[in-house]
Amino acid sequence: MKIDNSLPLEYSTEENRLKVLGFWIFLGAEIMLFATLFATYFTLFDRTAGGPTGAEIFEITPVLIETILLLTSSFTIGLGIHAMRLGNKKAMLSFFAITLLLGAGFLGFEIFEFVTYVHEGAGLQTSAFTSILLTTLGTHGAHVTLGLFWGLFIILQVKKRGLTPETANKSFIFSLYWHFLDVVWIFIFSFIYLKGMM
């Protein structure tokens, strides 16, 4: 395998460059996926069929906490990648671990939020609005859940195998994924929660 040392580790082999580009294209597809969900949400958001509306069920506190947790995790994974570029494996692993903990915290709050919704009579089957709301949030939540496992696997691999072009590449791609989830959340926060509460 040819390793080009003038480039960062995650870009250093041709295979790594292919993977990064491929992942960007995958994120393009993910954008379309969430765009479709958002478009459906905007179409259906006032079709509550007598069930609860967004303004009735959204609560700012848990949503704000979730937002802060996820935004911070996006920052810490950025620090993790920075540490990786400096070759500081220990710092990188710590930042990755913090990221995952924050992500798990986010997920905890989201599950709590879902349980509250269902208790308030806003279940998946209540109306078109609740169906698309829970599906959109759930799709994002499922992405985060997948990310937690993925991140954990990467931590284990970096720990065992050290910072090689391969593990660096995986970590970098994972960070792209995590940032992407953060961006999606910003849209969810602004256009679902804030708009819904107003």
């Binding site: 765009a35 478009a39 905007f42």
Partner: protein, 309 residues
């Protein structure tokens, strides 16, 4: 090769014979809307035939002239990149044709979505046409009568159909009076038609709606206004009233023959509240909250151009 050409000849003979048969229903209009559409169709067939002939001729020309068997052995075809002028012509002519057709198409769109031309000064007859598996219910609210699977209409009077469905999406279509429109369960679509001459026409649901779809047809009879009024009076005198239980029974899946009632189901089973932009006088619906959202049912960023109220 001879057999192939013989087969080709047969194909074209058959096609020519077919076109010679009695007029096709869509091209034999009996109302102003159908006439607009038939004219558009004939116009586009004309223009498209021209394009087809040009392409066929060009293809025949190059095939005859540039076959390898007709050329000397050492002929080397030239290397040619594109030529701006040639390609500009290839773009320009289609653009002109499409622009012309777009112009015609836009004009016709507004025509078929409005009260038929020449009928504007007459009071429209409003008929609620609703479908259920696999029947059509026609309610005449002003006359206070209702029919199943047949439709009587006066000639020379604009007809305003309000379409909706109890169940799957269906499409209300009377080819000789005009094109079809969907009937859906959560909103009312408006279709403007008119009949110029008395006669019997075929009407059907054109949109696949399950097992009984093929037989989901209705008879249309257009008659002079006086005759129509007579028929209404007769129905009022002889028919049974439509009750809620009776109507629920009618909604059960299955096929029914022709039926006639006094009163309409609109009183106890009102049509859905949503409206769509089917009406020319859409202002009257613009206060309707639902309209916007029903319309923006697309899923892309391009919604803006769709949400034109």
């Amino acid at each position: 090769m001879k057999i192939k050409w013989a087969l080709l000849t047969i194909v074209f003979t058959v096609i020519t014979v077919l076109t010679g048969c009695e007029p096709l229903m869509v091209l034999d209009p009996k109302g102003p809307q159908a006439e607009t559409q038939a004219n558009d169709i004939m116009l586009s067939i004309g223009i498209m035939s021209f394009i087809v002939i040009v392409v066929f001729a060009l293809l025949a020309f190059v095939l005859i002239k540039y076959r390898a068997s007709k050329q000397s052995k050492d002929y080397e075809p030239p290397h040619m990149e594109g030529n701006v002028i040639v390609e500009a012509i290839c773009v320009g002519i289609p653009v002109l044709i499409v622009a012309f057709l777009s112009f015609v198409s836009v004009q016709s769109n507004y025509k078929v979505e409005a009260t038929p031309k020449g009928y504007e000064d007459k009071e429209p007859l409003v008929i609620y046409a609703s479908s259920s598996n696999w029947k059509w219910h026609f309610s005449y609210p002003e006359e206070g009568i209702e029919t199943v699977n047949y439709l009587n209409i006066p000639t020379d009077r604009p007809l305003e159909f309000k379409l909706y469905s109890y169940g799957p999406i269906t499409s209300f279509w009377i080819p000789q009076l005009g094109g079809q429109k969907y009937a859906m369960s959560d909103m009312v679509n408006t279709l403007h038609l008119g009949a110029d001459v008395p006669g019997e026409f075929m009407g059907r649901n054109a949109n696949f709606s399950g097992k009984g779809f093929a037989e989901n047809t209705f008879d249309v009879e257009a008659m002079p206004e006086a005759e129509f009024d007579e028929w209404v009076e007769e129905v009022k005198e002889t028919a049974e009233p439509v009750t809620e239980e009776k109507f629920d029974e009618l909604l059960e899946p299955g096929h029914l023959g022709r039926m006639t009632f006094t009163g309409t189901h609109l009183e106890f089973n009102p049509p859905p509240t949503g409206h769509n932009h089917g009406s020319s006088d859409s202002d009257e619906h613009s206060e309707d909250e639902h309209t916007e959202h029903q319309e923006s049912s697309d899923s892309d960023e391009k919604e803006t151009e769709h949400n034109n109220h």
